[in-house]
Amino acid sequence: MTRLGRRSWPLAAALLGGLLACRAQAPPEPGAPDPGAPEPMAARAPAGTSLRRIQDEGVLRWGVDPAGGAPFAMPDPRDPRRLVGFEIELVEQLARHLGVRSEPVEGDWLALIDNLRAGRIDLALNGIEVSAERAQVIDFTVPYYRYGQQLTVRAADRDRFRSLADLAGRRISVLNGSASVDVLRAAGWPEERIVQYDDSLAPYVDLANGRVDGSLAESIIAGYYAEAIRGLHRVPGTFAPGAYAGAVRKGEPELRAAIDAALERMKASGELGRIYQRWGVWTEEQRELGIARGPAVERIPLASADAAGGLDWGVVLRELALATGTTLALTAISMPLAVGIGLVLALMERSRRRWLVVPARLYVQLVRGTPLLVQIFLAYYTLPALGEAAGLGKALVWPAFAVGVLCLAGNYAAYEAEIHRAGLEAVPRGQREAALALGMTPAQVLRHVELPQSFRVILPPIVNDLVAMIKDTSLVYVIGVRELTAAALGIGKARLLVPQLLVAAAAFYLVASLAADRLGKRLEARLRSSAAQVPGARRLA
């Protein structure tokens, strides 16, 4: 599913690029500063700037993709709703210097910059490599980490493959969109031998499984994952060095200057060095960026497959149950909306007015003819730009959950419209005439005669779609909604237990689907047995 997500992304990005001709500009938002916040390091920024808004709201919203995983950012194994990682600590510290609190906003890594430009976040900081290409669309802060590319091979091949050159003509796994991809391209690798994955763990799992012969990643990733998986060997030495930096919207010098100042302080004071030591990512090269090592601190232990015995399944299951709640909430809100919108569409299609029929048909064909995943990406990343273009400001910058509901409801509405149409057509014409002959208006006929009869016919297919939707809600994890699939993948990747967690998630989906199906069957049975019972008649008996 994730793979599909990445594939469809370029389309959304291309559309977005076209729509986003002008840069997003935050409107001035009045608001009193948080009285509980510590004294801001910088003076109050000029009104109308993002920095001023951040100061006024007391929150720094920043983008991060936990799918990238440790040691950057991952769900806390003890409390998977929290994120931990060196970048989480880094931004927490950074926010403290700005006198505000840090609020990570989860989202797809490849879309971090789009989220930044859409105004959902004010800073993207998640292993984003400094590059001239990116610098054209965003402004980089000062770099905060120096990395190099490091090759990993299977331990059995350690004598065969000692360098990238030894792997010529072989398949190499990388993290999607990372600088490693560019390094391989520059070294002449054809696209089909650069195997890209959505997260940091999968390249190494596939290396261990033998689907690829080498894995190239930034040293920080290699250091973490190659060590955590048995049977892998990190080829000593790094090459093609680069640096990570934060990204802010262009045209916001105040914000960038404030972040740069805070970062420089953290570098010099050893705060950053301590964080790096704790997460085991300190290297001597960091000094090139002016980062002081600071006093030695103990490294926190790595998650690994060996630690599986220590996994607290009680915590994990509770976490999955909570995420199932999100999944069910998405379904419970979206499906009734879909049935309602579907009815409106069906009535439009049945109308004799062309100006109602044509848009309804167009909508149904368009929505049924395009993948839900593409719709989710488009809605999430282009709605803000559309709102901006329409002069609505930030009115269309909806949270991910709301966008998820919008897409699920809007997508399923097209299918429910067809179901409604079939159901209404199944009501005999004579029933309509009999109701009209009583003096009912067409609206009353629909409400009291046609819809109740249609409903009995369409209940089974609607229940069928309800069950389908429970599972389709998993797609909205691509925009950062922490539903069941996202939670399972998050915990699984953090603890290197992806298969186990996916099986557990599948079990939750199965239970939810069976329950929904049973509920539907009971409703059907009740309608059938009481085909004619109206309350008035019951009281009469």
Binding site: L436, A437, G439, M440, A532, L540
Partner: protein, 255 residues
């Protein structure tokens, strides 16, 4: 031009099907309160269509209809759809003219009481308790009060027909139209139906019964109309109609 004191008066009604065939070719008729009129004629002569034109489930193109002296329809050119005001006028008209369909068309999703209550509650906009009272009274009249809670499908054909009659009666119509009411009844039930119809006439409701059953026409009607090829070719008492001295009826009565 004003009609007399007839309950329903029709003058010069004409209608063509979309393919141009003439189905009603200048119908004139008058119905009186408390009178049962039987409308006879061969299949395809237009009698059911005429019935549907009277409560405007079908629209005619020419001619006028008065109900209790009030002009209720002047026809409508084909293809034009009714506006909002006209739809309300239609609904008002249909409250006053009940129609019992040949196929009955009871609502299967409601029980007997629900079927009969629907009109009073939503069309007459009576409070629920009063709508129920009206419905139960209508059911009592056709002798089905005790089956109020049953599903229509659980009733016999004769009982279902009486529910359909009660559904129309609950609206308090001035005129009640029956489309082939005996076509699905066995002879024993036909007698019961005739009694119900006579009983309604005694209460002052006008009744128009489309049928091709001569025995029924003879037993129930105060007046008999014969239709052929979109025209009314005979109007008279049952005795006149079935006396045999009318050559235009001979072909039909003999068949």
């Amino acid at each position: 031009m004003a009609p007399g004191d007839a309950l329903l008066e029709v003058r010069g009604l004409r209608k063509r099907w979309p393919d141009g065939r003439v189905v009603l070719d200048g119908i004139d008729l008058a119905l009186a309160r408390g009178e049962v009129t039987a409308l006879l004629g061969p299949n395809g002569c237009g009698k059911s269509t005429l019935l549907r034109c009277l409560n405007r489930l079908e629209e005619h193109e020419e001619g006028r209809i008065w109900l209790a002296g009030e002009l209720v329809s002047e026809g409508r050119p084909p293809g034009r759809r009714p506006g909002r005001a006209e739809q309300l006028a239609l609904a008002r008209l249909r409250r006053r003219i009940g129609l019992v369909f040949q196929q009955l068309e009871l609502f299967p999703h409601l029980d007997v009481l629900g079927n009969v209550m629907l009109g009073p509650q939503h069309v007459l906009r009576r409070p629920r308790a009063e709508a129920r009272r009206l419905a139960l009274a209508a059911l009592r009249r056709v002798g089905l009060e005790e089956r109020a809670g049953a599903a229509p499908a659980a009733l016999s054909g004769g009982q279902q027909q009486r529910v359909a009659i009660a559904r129309a009666l609950a609206m308090g119509p001035e005129l009640l139209l029956f489309d082939e009411p005996t076509s699905a009844l066995d002879p024993l039930l036909v007698r019961g139906l005739i009694e119900v119809i006579r009983d309604l006439a005694r209460d002052g409701i006008g009744l128009l019964v489309v049928t091709h059953d001569l025995q029924v026409a003879r037993a129930v009607a105060d007046r008999v109309l014969f239709m052929d090829a979109g025209r009314i070719v005979f109007s008279g008492t049952p005795d006149q109609a079935f006396g045999g001295q009318h050559p235009e009826l001979r072909g039909f009565t003999a068949s």
